[in-house]
Chain length 486, copies 2
Amino acid sequence: MTQRNLDRLFNPKSIAMIGASATPVKWGFIVLLNILKEGFTGPVYPVNPKLETILGVPCYPSLQAIPGPVDCAVITTPALTVSALIDECGRKGVGNVVVITSGFSETGSEGTLMEREIVEKARGYGMNLVGPNTMGVFSAGCNLHALMPPVVPLHGGISMFSQSGNVGVQMLYWGNNKGIGFEKFVSSGNEGDLKCEDYLTYFAGDTDTKVILGYMEGLDPGSHLYRVARRVSREKPVLIFKGGRTQTGGTAAASHSGAMAVSSRVLRAAFRQAGIIEIEDSQGLVDCAKAFSACPIPRGNRVGILTRGGGWGVITADACEENGLVIPRLSDTLMERLNRVLPPYWSHGNPVDMAAVITSEPYLECLKALAGWDEVDSVIALGGFIQGAMDFNTTVEEGPTELKETVAFAREFAKEYTAQDDVVLEETRRLSEETGKPIIVVTLGDYDNHRSGLMNHRVVSYPTPERAVRALKRMVDYRRFLDSPA
Amino acid sequence: MTQRNLDRLFNPKSIAMIGASATPVKWGFIVLLNILKEGFTGPVYPVNPKLETILGVPCYPSLQAIPGPVDCAVITTPALTVSALIDECGRKGVGNVVVITSGFSETGSEGTLMEREIVEKARGYGMNLVGPNTMGVFSAGCNLHALMPPVVPLHGGISMFSQSGNVGVQMLYWGNNKGIGFEKFVSSGNEGDLKCEDYLTYFAGDTDTKVILGYMEGLDPGSHLYRVARRVSREKPVLIFKGGRTQTGGTAAASHSGAMAVSSRVLRAAFRQAGIIEIEDSQGLVDCAKAFSACPIPRGNRVGILTRGGGWGVITADACEENGLVIPRLSDTLMERLNRVLPPYWSHGNPVDMAAVITSEPYLECLKALAGWDEVDSVIALGGFIQGAMDFNTTVEEGPTELKETVAFAREFAKEYTAQDDVVLEETRRLSEETGKPIIVVTLGDYDNHRSGLMNHRVVSYPTPERAVRALKRMVDYRRFLDSPA
């Protein structure tokens, strides 16, 4: 297999925007707007023969009229015009084209012929072609936002390829909502030329990419993806979510991306062999992206559970066992240490149920003891921060003055109490770094506190223990792969 | 089995708060504060011999000193004092006691003896006893908030019993975050006297209760729960989440609530026979509570899928098939109808992939056609509302004036565009009512839009299709039970 050089696709020095438009409802407008407003680091050359300037930037009548060299051309003009534009790009020496235009192989046999033509031409010129029918490309390093939807991803260590534009872009939105940052992103579209294994290979060699994410519906029969993945997975985690696992889903995928159905069983085996971490659903895609990008990989499958409430400890223990994780019995030494911190009626076992002790000092003492214990490889800490859990935003309008004053006091008390969250989160991060073990927090509350926990403290948290366990299980699977003979 | 009369427990005319305290950090203070600030409809009598008033309310030196009758006494005084207080309650003719105090059977053999004593006494007086070691009771009708944590549930049709106070209370918090309302709630604590089947029986006969929710860790060997559930399930859905399904979880449950482990397989069979909807995880508890309380039960397992993006259609179809739901092929008539609304390159199948048509009129046309189609029993509609999906809250500080102005314009445009959400949601609700079929929406965005969709439009939505499918599957299971011979 030949390795494609995608350096200038993801790090172009200059961009031409062919089909740049001044009309807000056209894609040529929206993509250009995204590129300009996010401040791409090099020159941007809009191409449109009918305009002198667009959005305050000089506009060029043709690619040839652009004064300097062009590394990457983004195309949004109608399908029938693309073939001639590829020739123009070839003459100009453009090495990379991103064909956002749809109406190719996804629409039937005529479109398939057109697609074949533009791909053959592009290959003749030694060009890289993304798409057609792609939602675009993002690259954090050079502030490249050549994207159709108006999403502005957070920057971080994850790079993603997606055979579905909508799924990939939704992942970027989710990242924004949850504090998960991206390094590079590509919607691979119809994959007329560049395919997911090309992106995978490139991300593998990209030092800024720490975790690779993929959404995939199908592979060409001769695809090298598994072979590439097997090598890459040794270096960095490769997480793939596969759509079209069932007959119904497969039929839909065939109509959507032309993918061929592969049974779940076959797929699972191929993934396992290649060291690919299989993502089971779209929520898992987000949850695992978070865990893998912010946590150390645990050394094994042994988990310490810390909880402030018995029921949640039970639920977490169930989820661990159902996912093949082990909850070791506490040692006598650890038991004694916890006895000194906790009231006599604590659970005296793992899960360590603090039995309604809700202050932060004993919580952190227990967390330190558990994380430092040799017999566990990770800790799930329930109730790690409580912001949002206090429901004192009621005010009392009627009734005795004393009651009104007390409600106001309680509100202040709750505020002060949750202010300790920052201390708890910082200590959680420190303990994880010191021990090299993931400490995954489970906490009440809305998405804002999960986002700020991750962004301000690099602490990974989920709203339910089962989601924490599923993400942890995937990390344990990855460790097993890393420990297996190459 | 004798049926306990819990009318005056959940609808007391008056409450005594024994252990009422003026110190903010004591439970006797917090529970009283919750009761007073939420405005319980009858008289509240704090009992504390050391104080004349508490929170501006007259305080009584003893139960006997209270001028009127007392329907329900809430107790937070230390464990050793409870036995004598039960006698006092008996003499006063109090029919219901809620023993929040802990330190009974959950702490060992001595506590077990004390618990037996208070329960025997209470039974001798013909009293109902909640707990001990309970987090309290909530009842919407009379604004009863006898709860330890400062949570103020939304009002709605769900009643819940929980063998874990923390799990139950967290469910109330989640309800607040997601717009799910409760009618009655009880943390059953150690279940010294009243057990979950007693609450189940009571909720069954309570006309204000539309859906029953339970968190359970264990049952007494002689429990009538399944027998009761089998009868109740014919009338209203009973959803139970069972902790302690595994050996590890079971051990933790034994330490937490004294529950005995039951294998998942045995449990599943018992639940199925009893018509209980088994909740698989804590997220499912919230998701199913939402669906069952706001959607009609589908008549069968056939699903129509409407999507704006191909990849999400594939993912939804996979999830449906993996959960035993059927995606029927479109009829010719329906196909023709959709042809008139959609561009030529739409999927021509179910999932109905609108292929990037993002305006609301064709979306609603398609939704109407799908929901009205005889061959489906429910619809999953992806991209039903898009609030939060538009990411134009960037402003541009530098660059040409034209660019700055356009970004401001785009922001306004996005706002106007998402303003159509209300129209779409109202029409979604109307179509569901008209057809009697659940229409479950899947949408991007943070929790706020799911909450407002439910609260303002009674439309159920989830952030991922798999969660929608899992909730729908539970409703289909319930239909299957209803259709089975009694």
